[in-house]
Symmetry: C2
Subunit: 599 residues, 2 copies
């Protein structure tokens, strides 16, 4: 559902439609009749949906137009930005032929970035939108963005995205990697994975395509993505030079970045920290360089024996990104690929460089986040955040996992969800998910689901641990429903309602079981939750919540209840059928404040 909200932006009232998943709950059974449970609103990233052929509605179009800081170019002849690809059409990769659009680019002398506005004290519509869905004041988002501690990735050419904020003061976010490879791919498959990723809560997605028709795939994804889209432009640049890293050049890379920026990519992974001098530091590693971008740049440096061209041309790159408000995701090309290599010299040397580059980007009003590992044993996780926050001046941290052990290929969504929860608790703002196929194959739709759910768990567990305002309300609502045997509410509140329902029905498929006061774990006689509920009623009939030793009043109440229970002959375990047919008994165990009501 979308909730209409009116906020003041720049002194002007602005109507925003904030997306929520609203879960309506059944009432609880109280001593004096049903007690309403308020609906629970959950953060929702699935977007408005619609026909992929036309793309999503352009939510941000009026805001962008109103700001007037961009010129609007005709897309004709602008290459990949129109959805065309070098090499023409391929099977499975039809061009996107949705409604015409303009390409926006900063007017001369203007900086249309969220960072520039935030620094100027302006709350943009994007910041307001992001704030409202977080449940915080828009000014908090502005202040955090201005300080560099948060980013609102929002390319002026991706008007379809619903704005969101990445920063340690906000809800922990999750990125889902999508993308084709030369081994397997089609646009339809990628769109399906995009839909599943956002259905299960992806806050951003990255298109990591390396196969054919990279530009076409990306056009389809951006036009249909309700969340910011990131890329690693070096992949496409490498395709453009026939897959030979030594043939790469700043010019080819720059042109690729411009085209992607005009298409609407919201943030780009840039491996500018893989400096020539750091390459030898990886030689003694167990797993060398495992980042694709990192190894490409290392190969280039080595082939030319020159400094990384992304590093030497970083200021020009900043100017390009500033024009479209593309955020930097400064890549960790030297991240460890095994627990053995964690927190080593190569990794930390690069991290220091990313800290230098952060300040350069900020000087150009470009938003920045910093990528992190990878594979890290649990005892070294927190150090990663501490060093990143210190060296990178508080810029948001964006980590891949980390995997906490290397021994479980096929289950790396779990090995890494453990690390992800711990690193998020320590302050990571955005988690890049890992699917069960990591190290083994290309994820399909079900892998996307498995990876997303594992990471939403990690992110939420961290938010609960951090005491994020409102985070635990979701747990409490579900636990209350569980304790009260409101099965449908439990399913509806679950992170994956379909799975929860299916698992329950495997053992107890009958519709009546969904209102039963027990489950298949123990069966009706042994249900601890039921016994416990009965106990509570009994105890509360005597007195309120408890002292360290039994209060005389409570003791008296308990004794009275004890006599009563014995008189009833052990009717603690009333079957659901009996419960239904014997309201008088229910009223007794319901308490009603009178310990003398006979059973």
């Amino acid at each position: 559902m979308y909730e209409e909200r009116e906020v003041l932006v720049g002194g002007q009232p602005l109507r925003l439609a904030i997306p929520w998943t609203e879960v309506l709950l059944q009432p609880s059974a109280g001593p004096d009749g049903p007690v309403e449970n308020p609906p629970v609103r959950l953060y929702d990233t699935s977007g408005p949906g619609g026909d992929p052929e036309t793309g999503l509605p352009r939510l941000r179009e009026p805001w962008l137009t109103a700001r007037g800081d961009c010129e609007e170019l005709e897309p004709m002849g602008r290459g990949a930005a129109t959805g065309a690809d070098r090499g023409g059409e391929r099977a499975g990769f039809p061009p996107f032929r949705g409604p015409a659009r303009v390409i926006r680019r900063a007017k001369a002398g203007r900086r249309p970035t969220q960072l520039a506005y935030a620094r100027a004290g302006v709350v943009t519509a994007e910041m307001a939108f992001a704030a409202l869905r977080e449940g915080v004041d828009p000014e908090v988002v502005r202040a955090e963005v201005a300080a560099g501690r948060a980013i609102v990735p929002a390319n002026v050419n991706h008007p379809e995205a619903e704005p969101m904020v990445i920063g340690r003061r906000f809800l922990t976010k999750v990125n889902a990697n999508l993308g084709t490879s030369s081994v397997r791919s089609s646009v339809a498959e990628e769109l399906e994975k995009l839909a599943w990723a956002t259905r299960f809560g992806a806050d951003t997605v990255m298109d990591l395509s390396t196969g054919p028709a990279i530009g076409t795939t990306r056009e389809w994804l951006i036009r249909n993505s309700p969340v910011p889209v990131g890329t690693v432009p070096i992949y496409e640049a490498l395709e453009r030079v026939g897959g030979r890293p030594e043939a790469l050049s700043w010019e080819v890379f720059r042109d690729t970045v411009v085209e992607q920026a005009e298409q609407g990519v919201d943030y780009m992974t840039i491996h500018a920290g893989v400096r020539l001098a750091f390459v030898p530091l990886t030689v003694g590693r167990v797993t060398g360089i495992v980042s694709r971008g990192g190894s490409i740049m290392a190969a280039w440096c080595l082939a030319h024996h020159e400094e990384n061209f992304l590093y030497t041309n970083f200021e020009e790159l900043c100017e390009i990104l500033a024009r479209y408000d593309v955020a930097f995701s400064l890549g960790d090309g030297l991240r460890p690929g095994s627990v053995a290599d964690a927190n080593d010299e190569a990794q930390l040397a690069e991290l220091r460089t990313l800290g230098e580059l952060t300040e350069v980007a900020w000087a150009h009003d470009v938003q920045v986040m910093i990528e992190g590992p990878g594979h890290v044993p649990l005892d070294k996780v927190a150090e990663n955040v501490a060093l990143q926050q210190e060296w990178c001046h508080g810029a948001p941290f964006y980590t891949l996992g980390p995997l906490t052990t290397d021994v479980a290929p096929g289950y790396d969504h779990i090995t890494s969800a453990i690390g992800a929860a711990v690193i998020a608790m320590a302050g990571t703002a955005l988690l890049c998910y890992v699917t069960p196929k990591e190290h083994l194959g290309l994820p399909d739709r079900e892998d996307v689901r498995a990876g997303m759910v594992a990471y939403k768990i990690a992110a939420h567990a961290a938010d609960v641990a951090k005491g994020h305002p409102g985070a635990r309300a979701w747990d409490d609502a579900l636990s209350k429903a569980r304790f009260e045997f409101r099965w449908e509410d439990q399913f509806d509140l679950a992170l994956d309602p379909e799975r929860a329902r299916a698992f329950h029905d495997q053992t107890l498929p009958a519709p009546a079981a969904k209102t039963a006061h027990f489950c298949s774990m123990c069966g009706p006689k042994f249900c601890s939750m039921r016994i416990s509920a009965d106990l509570r009623r009994a105890a509360s009939a005597g007195a309120g919540a408890g002292p360290e030793t039994v209060d005389p009043a409570v003791a008296a109440g308990l004794a009275a209840k004890a006599a009563e229970f014995r008189a009833r002959g052990g009717e603690l375990y009333v079957s659901p059928a009996e419960l239904a047919s014997s309201p008088a008994q229910l009223a007794v165990s319901g308490g009603a404040g009178s310990p003398t009501t006979p059973g």
Copy 2:
């Protein structure tokens, strides 16, 4: 495989067959030809296998006989211990009719417990066996058991079990819960789950049956279990009184415990800490009492308004358990059932009581471990271990999860593996697994697998983080295989080889892909691992591992290699087919110490 080892036990040589999973590895490709990789030995709990109708061989029989501290009773007419059940035979529950056995019980004045022997300075065969499979000195096991910091659960009536040790100085262990319920069950299904649990590394199992034919089910499980078996005797006691907690009595419970002890249960969950005075402390909770045993005892206390009979008869219980060397698993009947209730007054009041009871049990030479939560937000996990270790005098901690959020029914193996890894890193010795069916239904074979793998990951991640000697060797061997594209070695070393292989084959089914120097993630051209391997060869041709800035020698080497690579026209990305057909080229990129060898 079993490795024959001879050790001195009590000055006498003893031959022990230590179980291992031995993974043979392919050689690495070195500059001067293949370099052997030593086999990797992994801890193995799957046992010797065999026909379930006859049960496992009785490994410990000669040790027990040699100690001569037990009388040997005829099992005839001793009720459930023979595998008979009240109510006779039921479909799906045939009696176990394996070879005859005697029932052992302490001779008058003897204490046949591992704790008694350890305190007397004696290393038992059980301690030696447990030590050798851990890779530690047997004296370390003895000393830890003597101090109460570890237990070797080894009922004198479970001679089939391969001894193991539970304690924070040793490998983190995992327990798998099995058991029938009134809703669904059969012996065959439970035996299958037992086999899957130990195949995937269960160190102990608990039979939590609550359905029909509890005794028969347990007999089948114990006679076929290569790992210690735990139970919660109150479940069976409750069955014996028709499911009415208020009808329970110390006498019924005691008789149940004796029969289970004579059957061979190695440890028993005893909810002696659910004291009458603590019950009112649960009234204000979101989820009351969620432990079945806890709620049964609370119901009993309430119905009688008397102190818990397990608490008041605890010394007699100790004497019974001492006779068979059954270990206490002091149950946390008041554990939190939601993150909202974590670390509350009720939970901590019970924990303090468990600390008192620990000292009582130790006075009777009975081994003790302490059960812990449950549902705990990540920020409160470490406190649980700190308080337990302090209040319970260092007795091993045995925790269920904990789940770090309540919002993901259907995925609680993941919500809890996160908590399990963190609590194990903090010092928990035994983790009770949680399956994906938790809160929803009864686990089947696949759920057992999913739960076990998630928990072996958590346990191993903790062991790596704790720096447990040898733990990381497994990770390093797998990572090295990964980096060198030894696919079969990666699969064989994986925690779940079948799954790893299947996932790889989904994308690249051809046999040739298992020797390919790339995977489906990136395809042949983009493989970072390959690029990285090439880089390493190039760099090592120039010099050794790396300085902070480029050493002149390295730089010279890199420059030479740079020229060479350019001369070869970008042959960094040789396809596997080319590699196979062009050994000369391989030799070049392999380095061979000569930067001048032409491509």
